[in-house]
């Protein structure tokens, strides 16, 4: 009781009067996971930062950071992030957490991917049977992962026939298309679990480490763009890699399943 009262008083005293806005570009898959709704109110309470999310694909998020239109980005495409840092657009890259991709498809599983051992074998089976497949096709982190998997399977999407549909849309819109076409699709687990229009689709393959999806935080370079709120970005980074964030991220569940695994190196 006393502890609760103390905690409440501490929270009251600690809560700053004016919230300072910080713009962060995040990927659609992060927003669709619903984790933001859990984290943002606590961030506002703990640090006084009002995080404004600009939800776009990884490609556009990096572009927004490059132009200095956001203060920080949270994306998941390591090679693109490394190039972003190398180009001087961000002072560093900080890994926060990971979730995983899953292969979703028609419940009847015409390509029999449920029985395969690796993600590469599963994609090979889809290509062999020429079963309908929906690709994000929007240069997003998910799309880049998909392309890397095709490359690892020694297959080139450019040579695929009509069964390969690159829709050029966000995760949700692509899932809607897959539901309509009864097609296979690579989706992040969070978006899939939160998706409301599953129709005849079912989760068919997951668990291969090749499908792990690392999210990283990149503060936009204040050297290049003096107007960015580097101070707020640093506060946010410290919060995201701290114990409160760890508890919230690891504890976030949809339908009883843990979605994200916190793996930031703490200070």
């Amino acid at each position: 009781m006393i502890r609760a009262a103390l905690l409440a008083t501490a929270t009251l005293l600690a809560s700053p009067t004016i919230a300072e806005p910080l713009r962060m570009a995040v990927t659609t898959s992060f927003e669709n996971s619903g984790l933001a709704e859990v984290l943002l109110p606590v961030i506002a309470k703990d640090t006084g930062i009002e995080v404004q999310l600009v939800v776009v694909g990884t490609g556009q998020a990096l572009k927004l950071g490059e132009s200095g239109d956001v203060d920080a980005i949270l994306v998941h495409s390591k090679s693109a992030e490394d190039a972003f840092v190398a180009a001087g657009n961000a002072p560093h890259r900080r890994e926060i957490m990971y979730n995983d991709f899953v292969l979703v498809g028609p419940a009847g599983d015409p390509a029999a991917i449920a029985g395969t051992d690796t993600a590469i074998a599963a994609l090979g089976a889809i290509a062999n049977t020429e079963s309908a497949f929906v690709s994000r096709g929007d240069d997003s982190g998910t799309h880049k992962t998909e392309l890397a998997l095709w490359a690892a399977a020694d297959l080139d999407p450019a040579g695929f026939g009509k069964w390969y549909n690159a829709v050029g849309a966000g995760m949700g819109a692509a899932l809607n298309t897959a539901a309509g076409l009864d097609a296979y699709i690579l989706a992040d687990r969070a978006s899939w679990l939160n998706f409301g229009n599953k129709a005849t689709l079912a989760l068919l393959f997951s668990g291969d480490p090749a499908l792990f999806n690392q999210y990283a935080f990149l503060p936009v370079s204040a050297e290049k763009h003096p107007h960015v709120r580097a101070d707020l970005a640093e506060t946010l980074e410290n919060w995201l890699t701290g114990d409160v964030a760890k508890g919230l991220i690891d504890g976030y569940k949809i339908a009883g399943e843990q979605l994200f695994v916190f793996n930031a190196e703490t200070n």
Binding site: Q52, V55, S67, D69, N176, N194, G196, K198, H225, H227
Partner: protein, 234 residues
């Protein structure tokens, strides 16, 4: 079909529950589109009327261009406004990107040609009737334009409502320059796009019905306020 029924149910619950988020984004939709309409009308009414009363070289070209701009693709306008307002763009220092102001700027650009074009069409006919009278009264150009705007106000109302309709239902441009940020730049149309993306068709449709209802309400109240379609005035 069940989706549509679910949509009606969702709209109903959103409305009777006076959902605070719904009220916030609906008010923002109105704020952005009505402000854009105000600026667009301030530019388009005099411009359209001027084009009707004034003869000058290349007048036909200007009118043709204006008519063609009625079909300006919002997503392209959004992209151009984005490039200008981006921090690395020419107007970047203003820091307007991802604010309602940026959305208003984009919508003004989208609807001004439409309103000016309809204004011009209406004023051309009216000018034919008023031409001799205004010339014989030796009215100045400014007086002629003012007279036409005042006497042609019902036609201008149609032009304005067409502009409002295009603005309130627009999503391509404001998605790019507004960013659909929750509690900052999210409006009804971008929220509908977001919910569709999540596969929550019921909520998306519910918001859609709210949007249609809002557009109807604005149209009806403008008609009521300006007393059109009532006794002796039509």
């Amino acid at each position: 079909m069940t989706d549509i029924l679910d949509g009606f149910t969702a709209a109903f619950y959103l409305l009777i529950g006076l959902d605070s988020d719904l009220i916030e984004i609906s008010l923002r939709s109105l704020h952005v589109s009505l402000t854009a309409l105000l600026f667009a009308c301030a530019i388009a009414f005099p411009l359209g009327t001027y084009l009707a009363v004034q003869r000058f070289r290349h007048r036909r070209t200007v009118i043709s261009v204006l008519n063609a701009l009625m079909g300006l693709p919002p997503v392209v306008v959004g992209l151009i406004v984005y490039v200008f307002l981006s921090r690395s763009g020419p107007l970047g220092v203003l820091g307007l990107l991802f604010t309602p102001t940026a959305m208003i700027i984009a919508q003004v650009i989208i609807i001004t040609p439409l309103i000016a074009s309809i204004t011009h069409q209406a004023m051309r006919d009216l000018w034919a009737d008023y031409h001799d009278l205004l010339i014989s009264l030796n009215a100045t150009k400014r007086q002629r334009i003012a007279t036409l705007i005042i006497d042609g106000r019902r036609n201008l109302l149609t032009a304005a409502l067409a502009g409002f309709g295009r603005a309130i239902g627009e999503v391509g441009a404001i998605m790019i320059v507004g960013g659909n940020i929750d509690h900052a730049t999210r409006v009804l149309t971008t929220a509908i796009a977001l919910e569709t993306g999540k596969g929550d068709f019921a909520l998306a449709l519910g918001l859609g019905f709210v949007l249609i209802a809002l557009a109807l309400l604005v149209n009806l109240s403008i008609h009521w306020l300006s007393r059109t379609e009532s006794d002796g005035l039509w």
